[in-house]
Each structure stands twice: as C-alpha cells, then as structure tokens.
Amino acid sequence: MGKQINVALIGNPNTGKTSVFNALTGLNQKVGNYPGITVEKKEGVCKLPRGVKAHIIDLPGTYSLNASSLDENVVIELLLNKNDKDFPDVAVVVSDVENLKRNLLLFTQIKDLEIPTILVINMADRMAYKGISLDIDVLEKELNTKIALVSTRKKTGIDDLKNLITNFRDLPTQPCLNAREIDPDYFTRLQSAFPNQLLYKLWLVITQDVNFGNVSRKEVDALDDFKTKSKSDLKRLQQKETIKRYQFINNTLKKGQTIDLAAAKDLRIKLDRILTHKVWGYVVFFMILLLMFQAIYDWSSIPMDFIDGLFASMSEWTKDHLPQGQFTNLIAEGIIPGLGGIVIFIPQIAFLFLFISILEETGYMSRVVFLMDRIMRRFGLSGKSVVPLISGTACAIPAVMATRNIESWKERLITILVTPFTTCSARLPVYLIIISLVIPKGRFLGLGYQAMTLMLLYLIGFGAAIGAAYILNKVLKIKNRSFFVVEMPNYKLPLFKNVALTVIEKTKSFVFGAGKIILAISIILWFLASYGPGDDFNNAEAIVTSQYSKENLDTETLQQHIASYKLEHSFIGLTGRAIEPLIQPLGYDWKIGIAIVSSFAAREVFVGTLATIYSVGSDEEDTIKNRMAGEVNPILGTPLFNFASGISLLLFYAFAMQCMSTLAVVKRETNSWKWPTLQLAAMSSFAYIVALIAFQVLK
C-alpha cells in the first residue's frame, strides 16, 4: 500500500494520551507549534502493518468540543476543516478505564462528526485493582465503533490499536446522537438552510463560532429564512445536548461495564490524606525538594568534572594540532570554552527534569498544585496561577503562555508579571558555578550546604513571585476571581519510557535552544576580546615589555601580562570598563559586567561568556571553575568570587529580568510594550538594590 494516513490522537487530560503517543511513535516524534499560535504541536510517525505509515498528531487534551481555551480550539478547527493537511483519516479517542463515563462525552461528539473513530480504553491494567469489568463486544455494538483495550504500562493492546488504525476504512461512521433530538424544530430548519452540510458540524459552527469549509457563523446569521437563537438559548440547547449525551453514555455503560466497589482497593484516599494534608502535605513536599536538590548535586558531580576536563583538553588539543592562526584561536578560546560552559550542566539539568517528570508521572504534581492553591489564594492569585509558576521552573516562556487558561485578565496579568521570578533552568548554570565557588562543601545532618543553598534560591524565587503578586494585587485592585478546578489523577508508578522521553526532550531543548545563542555570542565575544581600537591594543606587546623591562620577568609571566593588557584594551575591555562604575558597588569587575550584559540574551550565557573571556590569550589547559576561582579583585586584592560577591551575584540573578525572549513573550501575551518594560525596570532595579545591599553587608 505504502500510503501515509493522518491519525489524530484526542482525549481528556490525564488519560495517558501521551503514553499512547509515545508507545505508537517511539522516538519518531517532534514537537513544534501550530502555525500562528503558540500551542504545542506534537507529531510523530508510526509504522503500521501492511507497510502503511501513520502520521500521528497528539492534540491538546480537551474535555469536550465546547472550547473554552486556545488549546481546545485547535482540536475543533482541525476536526472541522477537511482542507487541513493534518485533517485526520481516523480519530483515536483515548479514555481512562476509571473515568470512562466522563471521557465518553468527547468520544460521542467526535463520532458525530462522522470521522472514523477508534476508542482506546487505556490503563486496562488497573481494571482488576478497581473492580471494573468491561464487555468489549457490547460496548463496541452500543458505541458503534472498534475498541482497543490498552495498557501502556504493561505494553498490551498497542498492536491491536495499530491493526484497527490500519483498517480504519472498515469503521462505521454513524453518529451516536441524532442532533435533531436536541431541538427538532430548530435543527430541521438549520438542515433545510444548509442541506449539504453535516448537521452536527453546523451546530458547532453556531455554538463555537469556528468556521469550516465555506460555512461561517456570519453566513448562518445572515440567512433571512433561518434565524439563529440568542446566546442564552444556544447555551440552553448545549446543556440539553450534554444531558442527551450522558443519557446515551449511561445506558451504554449499564450494558457494558460493571464495577464491583467491594473489590476496589483504594490506596489513593490514604495517600491523599497525607500528601494533601494542611501540615504533613507541606512537610512531605519540603522533604522531597530537599532530597531532589541533594541528589542533583551528589549524582552529577562525577559527569560534570569529566565534561569540564574534556572541554579543557579539547581546547588544548585544538591549539596543538590545528594550524596556528586566528580561526584556530577562535575555536580554542571562543567556541569550545563557550560551549563547554553549557554542556557541563547537562547532567544537572537532566537530573532536575528526571525528578520533575517522575513527580508529574506519579500524579504527585497535581497534589502540589492543590497544596499551593491554599497559599496562592492568600496572595490574591488564583489556583490556576500555580501551573505557570511551577512550569516556570523549566522555562518562563511556556509558563507565561500557560497563563492563557486564567479567565480573569488581572489575575492573568499578575501571573505573567511574577512568573519570571521562579527559578528557571537557565538560572541553574549560573547558580551552580557560583555556589561551587563560594559555598563550602560541608554537610549538615547529611545535607550539603551547596544543595541547601540551591534549594533556598528556588524558594526565594517562589517567595519573590508571590510577594510581588501580593503587591500587584493591592496596586491593581483585583475584584474578580476565577474558580479553580484541578483534576487529581490516580497515583501511578512512572513509566520509564515517558520519563526518559521527557528528560531527553527537555535536555535537548535546553542544550540546542541555548546552545545556538551561546555559540553565536561566544564568537562575537571572542572577536571583541581579541581585537581592539587604537595604539594601546596594537602596541600592547611593546608597551608591556617596556613597562616590565627592569623586572626580569620570565617569558610566561610576561605573556600573561601582555594578554591581560590586550584584553583590557580590547573592544570588550573598553565596554566593560565603561560599565564598571555601575557594577563595582556590587562587588563585580568589568568581566562579570560583560557576562551580565551578554546574558541578557539568555541567562546561561553568563558562564559561557566568562569561560570565553578568561580563555582569551590563555595558553594553559584549565577548567572554567579553576579559572574563575583564580580571578582576583584588582581593588581589594581578594578572590573576585568570594562569599560577598557570590551571594550578591546569586541574588542578582534570582531577581533580575535577564531574558530577552521572556520579555518578547510578555509583550505578545499582553499586547503592549508597557508591561514588559515595567517588568524589566522593576525586576532589574530590585535585583540591583538587593545585590548591592548583600555585598555591602557581607563584604
């Protein structure tokens, strides 16, 4: 056959849709955005029997086709538009065996669009545990479809699903509900006005205000002989539709599903009693955080040391084996140290995402959201703000976009403005290198000081976010509140494949997303540090040699003085010197100043920049950490990275709005330059003041 078919994977959130997607596609998947909007688009390829290839799209989770968010709109627009290149040949609706009743609502709606639809009943391995038994033949007959009973955990049912997708042409397309039953008179008139259109599609066009084919809501409204109903009447009909659907689902499940409550063993209630407890819940969460940060430190030290040494050797090897010249210097002193500054953090980033992914997979993260909602409400944020704040630990950009499901504009705005305070993964490299330089390695009650400092920085970030929200809440005077509903999924053992894919995907996006920027900045910085204007730079050798002519220095020391003089009079040195008065009170020198300025592109650039600056002109093989540890404050004569300047830098990065991309996203989400400008000014000023106080008190 050799044909490719489009398969849309649809389902309620928390039904294991992504696990089914991973099971079908393996590593043949890519993540992008839907054109023109920023909703994540996951697609992959699956090989089916008889040489058929399936192009699978994992659509955003939705509870029904009555869209209330941008994510849900994506699902409807794809299903209504036959001209879309991704329009599915077959829809696969994923449901959870424990929530079949609720999940079937979406199934019946999609089935009514007359798209060949397969029902996947996932998490089948939990049936015995929950006392559930299903009569698949009866359910298939009642729902007029084919069912795949799947357990992605036990890896069962996936082959059956592949066979069903391959034979999608045999699937019946009769609807579950005759739309006329909702309001016979109204729907008869609607059908007569558009005799060639599918009735349920027309209904969605009217109620969801989405267009398809050549029919739009405006056209429906414009028809003289067909008067559509008022908004409240349409809402009433929608409610009637939902009731009709649930009547159908109840009747179906009565025939095909039995639940023996006596057989159900519920560990969930017992666990929830502890994990969402108003005291123990927070204690457990705090302990988990402590263990997580300790493990990040303990487990990643060996691979990090290895990577650090490897990049230092690579620089040395490049200088020794490539022809001498400026391009070789660029590679050895600019590109390799710059990239080394980011690659070194792969182990810690991977461990961080490993833990986050495990917490999400087990269902614990939803409990954290629930716990945090209690705190949030006191600071004037809605529970829905918790999701952006927690996802901000990965990156502020998707976190700012995740605020779209907050209905109240003011609550949404506050969440957008405070989210960049949460510690994102880009801050991690900065924190880790500074902590390793200024915080001792000792332990207290088995927990390392360094790990505790890192955890403290995460808590400071979170505290700053809710503190800022409290102030904004008072200033902006929020009156309207949105309600907060969070679904508590069942506790599950994490699936290794899902965890591994998340870790790979997140680490890859961290390395490649930041890596390209760092590569480009490393090249520019190396150029700016290796060239300079005027006689001071061009005659550096002669000037330094005559300066030290009476001191009888050995060649190596003299070369170091020349390199240092050249760096100070290079383009970057002159720029650094110009901004030095501004940052000197914080305990930084001009090199740190350059790193702070360049890290405005992305925070993690800070380490790469320092690695590049310290490498220019240096012939020694050395690690980034050792180079930074060896830097001396020219005024005080003490190590540049000492406790006072280190804490000052950590606090500066904890609070400063050092991310160009986040500002761009805030501009797009608020549709104004006013908010990102205010955000930049407020966060940067606050960071500067706190860093200044910290250095002046601790020095």
């Binding site: 538009n81 267009n211 739009s216 480009a520 520019i524 150029f527």
Partner: protein
C-alpha cells in the same frame, strides 16, 4: 596564505553569528493567516 584563510574564516563566522542573533531576536515573522488548507476557508 594560511593567515588570510584563517582571517576570512573568522570574519565569516562573525558575520554568521551576528546574522543569527539579529534574526533570532529582531526578526519577527508574519503569522500565517491561512493555515488551514488550500482554499480560503476563513478559519482563524
């Protein structure tokens, strides 16, 4: 000769790096208005 080639490579790398950053941070792509098929279905 070697020096000239190395300098050319340095300048090329620099130009590419600057162009990449300009494109990344200052170049705004126009969002597609027709994303849903071959005909003008007006989908938004």
């Amino acid at each position: 000769m070697n020096t000239i080639i190395q300098n050319i490579l340095v300048v090329t790398a620099l130009v590419l790096a600057v162009a990449f950053l300009v494109k990344k941070f200052f170049w705004t792509k126009k969002a597609s208005t027709k994303s849903c098929g071959k005909d003008d279905c007006g989908c938004h």
